[in-house]
């Protein structure tokens, strides 16, 4: 009551500060955990973190590597986040990444006689279509029978990983090499690096365009309004006649498409083939969950979170070569962030059960997802 005027004049600012704090808290704690581990192993955390910083953003080629590493994470982050925004916890992008990557690799090999601009586009479209198809069943189960999407999408990830491994080994194996991988894609299918020596390709532009498209979709379109309303307050949405079913199907399928696209981009721009189990520790799809949670639904937040994860991955790979820093540290940092993402996910889920498509109503919740 002492400063009522100040309080009422800047609620937006206060809210912004609180949101920034909540978003940055996990990062700060993660860095502290890493510092503790470094300190215990007799290294100076500040020196090592400075090394990370230099390797992540010091110079054009390092920056390009960070952007390249962030590219698939932007896509899986957006794909996961759009489901969250409607209140659906689609964690099945990992599986979509695998089937999308395999489909893209197949197209890139089999349609090799197509010219350069056409082939990558078609191959990526096929990858996105495969990712979409991958999540059709969980989307329908969720929207028609109210079957928990977390269980179905999570389990389907393992199916996707195992299925693609099987397909590679028994149907698409590149027999001249001992690895479980497909033959290399045609040269015309490859995405050329924009900065030599890195895997930054035009796909990064596509990913960030999709990121902005996500922001515009939610704010400016009728379906985006439906997605947000269903996610914010399912009972109100139902009373107004918004369709939670449509929101569930739409967001889960878009998530599948973006997962498939992310897998395809890795194939065309980084690996040039499909290798069984290529998306590991923590996996593009699972990292996308962390990016979505830490990015808190806004397109800016998602972009920053993806860049942070990208920086960690690109710097971590280099740093172990000459920094006397084991790659395990990078994994500790990623793992700690994933723990926060997991906690946050459980909190969000408690808050948003969908009465409109079955499940319990749980009122309350401050809507901090926004």
């Amino acid at each position: 009551m002492i400063w009522p005027a100040a309080e009422s004049s800047s609620p937006a600012l206060v809210g912004l500060g609180r949101r920034a704090l909540r978003a940055l808290g996990p990062l700060a704690i993660t860095l502290a955990v890493g510092a503790g581990v470094l300190g215990l192993s007799g290294r100076n955390p500040l020196t090592i973190y400075a090394l990370y910083l230099v390797q992540a953003v010091g110079g054009w080629s390092r920056l390009a590597s960070t952007l390249a590493a962030a590219t698939p994470l932007v896509l899986t982050g957006v794909g996961t986040s759009i489901g969250f925004r409607a209140g659906f916890f689609n964690v099945g992008l990992e599986g979509a990444v695998y089937v999308g990557a395999l489909a893209t690799a197949w197209a890139g090999t089999v349609w090799g006689q197509l010219p350069a601009p056409v082939l990558p586009a078609l191959a990526l479209l096929l990858g996105a279509a495969a990712g979409t198809a991958w999540l059709v069943v969980p989307a329908l189960l969720r929207s028609l029978l109210a079957i928990d999407e977390v269980v179905t999408t999570l389990m389907l990830n393992y199916v996707g990983i195992a299925l693609t491994t099987y397909l590679v080994l028994y149907h698409f194996l590149y027999k001249t090499i001992g690895n479980a991988q497909t033959p290399p894609i045609a040269t015309s299918a490859q995405l050329a690096p924009l900065v030599p020596g890195t895997s930054l390709t035009a796909a990064a532009g596509l990913a960030f365009a999709i990121l902005i498209g996500y922001g515009l979709f939610l704010r400016r379109t009728r379906l985006g309004a439906e997605v947000r309303t269903v996610g914010d307050n399912p009972r109100f949405a139902a009373a107004m006649g918004f369709s939670a079913r449509r929101a569930a199907i739409l967001t889960m399928l878009v998530g599948g498409a973006l997962g498939g696209l992310a897998g395809g981009i890795v194939v065309l721009g980084v690996t040039y083939n499909f290798t069984a189990g290529f998306s590991t520790a923590p996996g593009y799809g699972y990292s996308g969950v962390a990016v979505a949670v830490l990015g808190r639904g806004s397109w800016v937040g998602l972009g920053l979170a993806a860049l942070f994860f990208g920086a960690l991955a690109s710097a971590g790979g280099v740093i172990q070569l000459f920094g006397n820093v084991p790659i395990a540290l990078t994994q500790i940092l990623q793992g700690t962030l994933m723990i926060f993402a997991g906690i946050r996910l459980v909190q969000l889920r408690r808050r948003r059960r969908h009465p409109a498509t079955g499940g319990e109503t749980d009122s309350g919740g401050d809507g901090s997802w926004r």
Partner: protein
Amino acid sequence: MSAEPATAAVHMTGIWKRFGAVQALADVGLTADPGEIHALVGENGAGKTTLVRILAGLERADAGSVDVNGRRLGPHHSPKEAAEAGVGLVQQHCQVVPGLAVLENLILGHEPTRLGLIHRRQALASTRAIADRLGYSFDWYAPAETLGLGQRQRLEIVRLLWRRCSVLVLDEPTTVLTAAEVANLFEVLRSLAAEGRTVILITHKLDEVREVADHVTVLRHGRTVGRIPRQRLDLDELARLMVGELESPPVRQPAALGEVRLRLRGVTTPAGEPGTQALRGIDLEVRAGEIVGIAGVEGNGQAELCEVVVGLRRPASGTVEINGRSVDGLGTRARRALGLAFVPADRMEEGVNPLGSLWENVAAPQIVAGRGTRLGILDRQRLREQARAVLAGAGVKGDLDLPTRSLSGGNVQRLVVGRELQQPSVVVAAHPTRGVDVRGAAFVHRRLLDLRRAGSAILVISADLDELSQLADRVLVLHRGGIVGGYAPEDADPARIGLLMSGVVPEARP
């Protein structure tokens, strides 16, 4: 009855309590003597529960004094102080601690100890003695969560007696009981009163008052409107006091009744869903230019009736027609497209998206219907302009981009009414003025009457009979999911309405 003795068991005077914009209690008094069963009656929202929560120290009065057994409890006493003075409250839904045995639950927080250990034998002996006297038996070492609701209530009574409460307050204890359990409860209450304890019984069921009460205090709209000893108890008068002398209805233009816009035929919903009251064969017609009111004690199917009409709940049998067309296969969006408007009871959960901006909340029907959008893109400028006009018309001030949760409850209702009541063909309005201040309520009523004149068919559900008699051309009473009777406000007989709402069939009363 003589003048009040100096040492009433409970003496509350001049109690005031306000929750936000709602004056829950205004200068309320309650005096109960030792050895009597004192009924506290009133409609939902009359302030009964608030009053006893203040007595038990669970709520702080804004003003007033509370004396228990001649002892003044501080202006803001704690639950502990109330308990020490001898006040014990049996809440409507008794909680137990799961995982603990019945006995452990009972002695929780007051365990008798010997050498620092819980003296189980003594605890069992003392509690069992009380239970035996009341004729209760428990499986003392069974997990408490296995107790049914009636058993939990008994456990609570034993607990309070074990803690030597002299004033027992029971908040609507009979709602969870079967008829046999009710009879048993009343017997126990009578024996407790005979021991010199005071029992305060909250109820809105008049037959219960007739059966056990020595004295009755009647609350209406947060005021004490009557204090009647048993000898002068007259159920008709009590009903009238509870419900209030109905104001003479405002002069409505004689309605030019049009065609039937809303029709329900034999609408029945499945029984046995927890937390819902099944509808039992509802037949209902609302014509253009007519307001039909639904009266009744809350929880008798009002929410379910709304949901069936709006398309949020599927009936097991029966049909709903809007504008002469069956809408049984249609969802909420399609029904709204036919001109249905809905003012829901739970405005923060169903009426608005509190996280969304003001303009988006106002524009929601347009967005749903695809108006004000081009190729799926929102025409923000147009929608915002329309929202600005709606909000101005509803008297809501505030930035269009503010989140709706920043509005007060009354302003949220203005937003909802402004949005829904534009040019509807059929209106369903549930408790449209609950918790709304006088001017807000007048705005809502004016809007509804204007629409009636313009030819809308309007269904108003309310617990406020004054409101219904002011608005409605006829009123139907809902009880246990069925329509048990009806009346025209012009020849409303408050006693009969009160009895209908209490589930007492008028013809069967003595």
